[in-house]
């Protein structure tokens, strides 16, 4: 018995030694390319962002240490505050409008699963893969005055009140025009994500609900929705972090205008850094974006842990 105990462990030891030969250099060699990329394009720039944010720095190359001056100035800067306000408004309305819409579509698609489900899912996701320049172009075209889709159709129908609305030039409407296009472009992701989650709900639950005479809506409300608690919270965090990084659509459609009506944090950073060539301020905006998204990501992870806790 002792012999049979010794033999395999000795064999395993020999095997492990064979496996370990050249292990360390191999591991280093395989990790090297990834770390080279990150060191040059991420670690170094991250450190630089924090440093530049503490300096008065222009495109001409002069740099002077100013402490937290840039941050202090940001919080009295009208454009930055507008960006901050829009980003949070954007996140709020995405969660309130896009997620319920996505849930309705995802639930109906999975509940009434038939031959159309697959193709419909692919169609709903299609607009998510379009380049944002194309999405912005379509948005401009839908809302443009005179030749725009809404204007020309309304004029054709004789609805003067609608035909003369300036969706892009009006400060109160511009945000909503961009938001509408974003809803068209980005709701596909929560739809496919929720569908994947709903499909994981055991079929027995649904059969039991149907035997109890529960209607589709009651099944959705009492069984499916509670089960989606965690994925919905994840999506809410993704919406928020996505809003913090928002740049392409409002910039290509309206360059943040009219005035500051569609400015986001990303656009503020771009304007400070690459239009006014004020690197210090732009880097400070970058740090703010980083800290906010870090905050939300940590929130996401602690949500994940509380979920593990619930299960245990």
């Amino acid at each position: 018995m002792s012999q049979s105990m010794v033999e395999p462990s000795a064999l395993a030891g020999r095997r492990r030694r064979a496996r370990d030969r050249g292990r360390a250099p191999f591991v280093l060699l395989f990790l090297l390319p990834a770390f080279l990329f990150l060191a040059v394009f991420l670690y170094y720039p991250i450190e630089e962002t924090f440093r530049i944010a503490m300096t008065k720095s222009t495109g001409m190359g002069s740099e002077a240490y100013v402490g937290f001056d840039n941050y202090a100035k940001l919080f009295v800067n009208e454009e930055f505050l507008a960006g901050l306000w829009h980003v949070f408004g954007w996140a709020f309305w995405s969660v309130l409008i896009q997620l319920p819409l996505a849930f309705l579509v995802a639930f109906s698609l999975t509940f009434y699963a038939n031959k159309l489900t697959g193709p419909l899912r692919s169609i709903f996701y299609l607009s998510n893969v379009l380049p944002s320049a194309i999405t912005a172009m379509l948005g401009r075209f839908i809302f443009a005055p005179k030749f725009g889709v809404i204007s020309s159709l309304a004029t054709g129908l004789g609805w003067k009140w609608l035909g003369s609305v300036d969706f892009l030039g009006n400060k109160d409407l511009a945000f909503w025009s961009v938001f509408t296009i974003a809803t068209w472009a980005y709701t596909g992701f929560p739809i496919i994500y929720l569908m994947a989650r709903i499909e994981q709900i055991p079929a027995e639950l649904r059969e039991a609900a149907e035997l109890d005479g529960a209607t589709g809506w009651r099944y959705a409300w009492h069984i499916v929705l509670p089960d989606l608690n965690y994925p919905l919270r994840i999506l809410a965090v993704l919406c928020t972090v996505g809003s913090l990084k928002l740049f392409d659509l409002p910039y290509i459609m309206l360059t943040g205008g009219p005035g500051n009506a569609t400015v986001t944090l990303g656009i503020t950073l771009y304007r400070h850094g690459f239009i006014n060539w004020n690197y210090g301020k732009a880097a400070a905006v970058g740090v703010v974006i980083f800290l906010l998204s870090l905050g939300f990501t940590v929130a996401q992870f602690s949500l994940g842990q509380s979920r593990e806790g619930e299960k245990a």
Partner: protein
């Protein structure tokens, strides 16, 4: 089951009709430009919504010249292929180590790479730009796809890692006993088995690089290096929607590769997107 079906009858029909209507609404904006690309500017001004009377290709030809679409497509293709070539190998190598050579040191390295996953690329734009100007990397196509790859590597390392984790350890063990070295095992046995992950990465990195706007806007400055997306956006800003027929033609050409790729690979693209999202 069939009984249940019948009971749903009316509701199912209604829901399906609503969903199909919504799908048409989603797809309609994409079809709209096709109404304009065959019209002259004059026809468009008078009857923007009338059915085109005749199929003309002149708008495409003119847009091709005005926007220099060939140059744009070539630049975008170089950037996309470059991004693939620079993203996939480092990610696959690192993902393999994190899956199959786990130790305290590699765990630490893994967290160091994941830092990149949580840092928004917006944050590092200023130093990135300064660095590229200092090293004259700015306004070159490789100066664009290299940082693009760097921003993608953390995510794809994560995907490769979880894919390699699903491959049984016995396989590598057997190869090792047959005398294959560490690298031999990876290149001859493990990497070919990771083909699904590689296909996902190929598709999604390509689409991401093809669609990029912000990095290109900041890093490229001369017209001849402009990618398709920059050209479409600057055309929009120069002419607004007034030159719609020409503009729509440029947009159709610029969107076509993504849409074609989606039609061919939508199942893979959706699967890959979900695989990434559920990992988070």
């Amino acid at each position: 089951m069939s009984q249940l079906r019948i009971r749903h009858g009316a509701a199912e029909v209604l829901a399906t009709v609503l969903l199909v209507a919504l799908a048409i609404l989603v797809i309609l904006p994409l079809l709209m430009p096709l109404m304009f690309v065959f019209k002259t500017q004059l026809e468009f001004s008078y009857h923007p919504w009338a059915w085109p009377k005749q199929i003309r290709w002149t708008n495409f030809a003119e847009a091709w010249k005005a926007v220099k679409i060939d140059q744009g497509l070539l630049n975008t293709a170089i950037v996309s292929l470059g991004a693939i070539a620079a993203t996939l190998p480092p990610s696959a190598l690192a993902g393999y180590i994190f899956a199959k050579y786990r130790s305290r040191a590699t765990e630490l390295a893994f967290y160091a790479i994941m830092v990149g996953y949580f840092v928004p690329s917006l944050m590092v734009l200023i130093p990135l730009y300064k660095m590229e100007v200092a090293t004259r990397l700015n306004d070159t196509l490789y100066g664009l796809f290299l940082p693009m790859a760097a921003f993608g590597i953390p995510f794809w390392t994560l995907i490769y890692r979880s894919f390699f984790q699903t491959l049984p350890a016995d396989l590598a063990e057997a190869a090792r006993i047959d005398g294959a070295g560490h690298a031999g095992t990876f290149f001859r046995i493990m990497l070919p088995l990771a083909k699904p992950a590689t296909i996902l990465a190929l598709l999604l990195v390509f689409i991401g690089a093809w669609s990029d706007y912000l990095l290109s806007l900041i890093l490229l400055s001369s017209q001849e290096h402009f990618t398709m997306q920059l050209r479409v956006a600057s055309f929009l800003n120069a002419y607004g929607t007034d030159r719609m027929p020409k503009y729509a033609s440029a947009a159709v050409i610029s969107a076509a590769p993504t849409i074609l790729l989606y039609i061919l690979g939508h199942k893979w693209i959706i699967r890959g997107t979900l695989a990434g999202a559920i990992k988070e």
